[in-house]
Symmetry: C3
Subunit: 456 residues, 3 copies
């Protein structure tokens, strides 16, 4: 439970708000790289934390991210021509490059240098992991890019997507670090369905040669609704472990990372399985983009895995051409009440869509003043506490310390089965070789990867 | 004409307003019973006087009407599973029964009794006359249900529906007690059309053996636009009589009841004909549900009568699967200007739709400060006066006296032809056997009717 | 660049605002005459400068423009019956004539004269040039109608239309007097396309026997983005000339008129070509109707010319049955980025739609506080200065002097090629026979034209 003041503090992100200023200190994904597929392709309108922006890829491939308003007469540069290293306003021909500099002003008298004094607001960008990232903060020099594991593997080893969501960013992020809800929201009803699913998954793993431990994780998750949480701080955020009773004296651990300020990794992967993560970026305070990524540090994703992700399986949503989920708040997520009665807990198809439904249902901005939190909500409580500390420090002018630790973002989250005597640290070392899950470089392939990402 | 203050007083119904509090002292219909067709069926979202609520029918058939927000993390219980006498939140499994009590909390440690202290807001409900009713007031014990005649006849003797309307509840109610407008809004043009309609109606009545008096009511209504009003008070509201010149020294009386706080009965029925009534329930202050009922105290409705009502004839509207009229403000009621020129006064098909068009046209909330009322508006003036008295008394803490007279709701309204020397009281006794139209029990059938309605 | 105060002053037009009051001193078009095609046809809802109004053509052909609210119970007269020289409310039959007078009140007692005291607000109307015009000002006697040239030619010599636009009226008007943008917004790419277009146009002109001067205006407009502006005041507004380098020592002049308060004529016509103009009428402060007219003072328009205009060519837009452009802000003007890359500057089809796109893109109300104006914006600067002077004078009670000069509206605008030594006055005399372009009567045909327009 939060005070109204703290709820506002954490959820408001427009320029000038404390949280908005804090988020702007970090690099943030703003588009899929494939949304600007080639040099001089059509520009894209976007909105990030309440700011209307325009992105374009110039003739050299560089991405400009600018305020879309032409300073001459206020026409929108979205209608502009993307030509010869700049965007030209179609009203009277003023032209701007990717840094926002006016580079041509045909309405000015011959020989005039007036254009040199005209700039539009532009944010530094870079590309990494299949996304275009922007630095929207006030510092002259952007910080180093966080070395998130999925950005460190070859392009073949990952699949990235994005999806629209109709609520405030924070309740989506909270949903991601709340591993307790798996005992309900994503549950399958009926032992038979569960057995079939388990069997199919084992087969797929065997075919891939993954080091699958013998496990019954669906059963363990279903049968223990009160996982025991341990939360450890690290340079880049939090390690959040939730332990459920497995068989005998074993515990089934599901471990997720929260990485400052808006990333969360999924808790499901056993060794050899693919890893998943999400980054939550406010569009307005009542909508956000969820950037979703799947990667494997050790091998390329298979065609089947990519087809499944594209089709809206695993953590990815099934989306339309505008990246809006096909099952969304406007069509009640196509909830099927018969399905809910007999086969799945929600009657909604898709893990991503189940999350969206329940997060949207908390309201455009969840009211956290009336909650009743308990032991299984410890991950969320710690997340909020860290965010409040960070946002208050940032409001007092402190640069976030996480910015100094880009390698501490190169982590993996996932699952493990261990004897009940083992601590979270023990489990992390056993599963990931490191108490915080850091593995840098994250794979042999990454070591050989040429540095192709650049900062504009 | 009202002051701005009084117009606001009568039209604002959210919780905390004077009118909202007064309306909440009475039982109010909130759904058709058939919208929750069976035990454990899908829950229904609804909004009543600005309050977002959730209705569900539990395993025993009992209807719960609750605030839809789970007190754990604020997820909406609409997505919940309706299972084993309670609604279970799909986020983390908290479960609530029809009284709002938390009856299961799987995230709590074994043995915890914390759930016993957790409740969600729930309103008492009952079912009567094919509707689900709720008591949303503050008193611990709800009042007795009003014995509206249509609720006292066997199910076979009635047809009930509902329709959406895009304006404030009060202008709909005013339209119902304003019997003067029949000379225009519902008029048919051309003697030939009128003769045909009259003939068809006589035939239908004859087939049913109804005691139809010789009458030319269409002609009388058309030819006298200045009915003379008499309004009498009674324990449950008002008897409103409007007398038009008939043939010779006779008057044609059309009599309607206004029953506190939101019911009105139709003035058309001659002996043997079906009776009609409506209840007006605010959704917001600019939209309402109109619950509409047709009944016959003496016999089951025929299949043809039910088919006509379902098809949007008589006082019922032609609606879609969500009970929104097919002809509505968004499609201009499919007004046909050629039809208006030659065959009907409005060019809009359907008595219900004609009412809706003109009531919506008064604006989202009618501005009563600029009206010019006259002698034919006496019914409306008296309705407003009574409502103002009642709402002010209620605001001073007085319980409405009508609550003590549930039998005074068992009335019938309709038409009669009488010599011009007779008073409204005389006419009521002649037509209904009682100066106020009360007939309790309302029919032989009703006396034998088993008491199947219950209060939850 | 304007101050925020002046930007508000020029763009806000509801009743009671300074600009709204100033605009209301002039006659303004409010409908196409063909929108009320015959006596007693269906009434039309409209909104002008924030006022909801209702127009109807009575049995004699006279147009009434009234406040749509029945003073009896507030029903909307839009649903009324247009019958026997008046609009009758379908609720209770009150009837009003085109002057707003209540002429029948069937609910009043026989012999009552109450109706004589009941009026609804009504504005004087007249018809001219294919439009219905209204005087919405406060003076008892409306001013004389402006003798705009297109209203002075026979009906056969003109084509008139209207189109919806989703932004404030002023930025549309500014777009019309800004002839500098032709070097970009309406440009065709590729010499081949331009040559073909030029050739086709020459052929069409030759077929019509138009006195086409040898010209290469597309090339001249494309090649000179810095036209030199001269602006002269006249009784009815401004003459705005923009001179571009033509061949040798010649200048290519494009001359437009701004006529107070909301008319602008197009700069393209060479002798023999058709003339075009537009009138900009606020609906709300974020939408407007653009009344668009094409005329030829000397001959009837050809069938082909009318077909082109109806199909959305020249200055007319391609609109739906509600006069909303098919290519509009809701479908991104069907911008074709391939077309934009290779064939046209915008990728948007239609000169009218190109204007709309860029004007809408300036925002619902353009922010003029951040502009950077230069020498090619002199026309706009002078327009604003004149408007500010006029609106301030009007706010101090001065009647606009232009109202006293209806003949000064009978002007033509267009293009001419002249030696660089000639002034705008010289060019006007050479091209139009008059330094201000006034030609009254505007054609031989007009002299013979019977006075068929009338004021109601």
């Amino acid at each position: 439970m939060l005070s109204q003041h703290d709820n506002e503090l954490l959820t408001r992100t427009n320029a000038g708000t404390a949280m908005g200023d804090m988020l702007r200190r970090y690099w943030t994904p703003v588009l899929l790289s494939r949304e600007l597929p080639e040099p001089d392709c059509p520009p894209k309108k976007l909105k990030v934390m309440g700011e209307d922006l325009l992105a374009f890829r110039d003739t050299t491939g560089r991405v400009g991210l600018v305020e879309p308003v032409c300073p001459h007469r206020g026409a929108n540069l979205y209608y502009g021509r993307n030509e010869e290293c700049g965007l030209r306003c179609v009203f009277h021909g003023w032209k701007f490059d990717a840094t926002g500099q006016c580079v041509d002003m045909p309405t000015a008298p011959a020989g005039s240098r007036y254009k040199d004094r005209i700039r539009i607001k532009a944010y530094p960008t870079c590309e990494a992991g299949g996304y275009i990232w922007a630095y929207m903060g006030r510092d002259e020099h952007p910080p180093a890019m966080p070395m998130l594991a999925f950005t460190q593997v070859p392009e073949t080893h990952r699949y990235v997507s994005k999806k629209w969501q109709d609520c405030n960013w924070l309740q989506c992020l909270e949903g991601a670090v709340d591993t307790a809800h798996f005992s309900f929201l994503h549950m399958i009803l009926g032992t038979k369905d569960m057995d079939q699913m388990q069997a199919m998954e084992q087969l797929r793993h065997a075919a891939l040669g993954a080091q699958v431990v013998r496990n019954d994780r669906f059963r363990w998750v279903r049968d223990d609704a009160t996982p025991s949480f341990t939360v450890n701080e690290m340079d880049s955020g939090l390690v959040i472990g939730a332990a459920r009773r497995a068989d005998g004296e074993d515990l089934y651990w599901r471990i997720t990372h929260y990485l400052l300020p808006h990333h969360a990794l999924a808790p499901s992967a056993f060794p050899g399985e693919n890893y998943h993560g999400q980054t939550f970026v406010p569009v307005t305070d009542t909508s956000c983009w969820i950037y979703t990524y799947t990667w494997n540090p050790d091998r390329p994703l298979t065609e089947e895995e990519i087809a499944l992700a594209q089709g809206g399986h695993t953590v990815h949503a099934q989306v339309d051409a505008h990246y809006v989920p096909l099952r969304n708040i406007r069509n009640d997520y196509l909830i099927d009440r018969e399905e809910q009665k007999h086969r799945s807990f929600t009657g909604i198809t898709g893990v991503s869509e189940q999350d969206a439904a329940i997060q949207d249902s908390q309201g455009p901005i969840a009211d956290r003043t009336r909650e009743h939190l308990g032991a299984t909500d410890v991950g969320i409580v710690r997340l909020r506490k860290l965010l409040l500390t960070q946002v208050n420090a940032s409001a007092h002018g402190e640069a976030p310390s996480a910015l100094a630790h880009p390698k501490a973002y190169c982590v993996h989250s996932g699952g493990w089965v261990a004897h009940q005597s083992r601590s979270l640290e023990d489990v992390m070392v056993e599963r990931f070789g490191n108490a915080h899950g850091i593995s840098f470089p994250c794979s042999a392939a990454a070591q050989e990867k040429p540095v192709s990402d650049r900062t504009n």
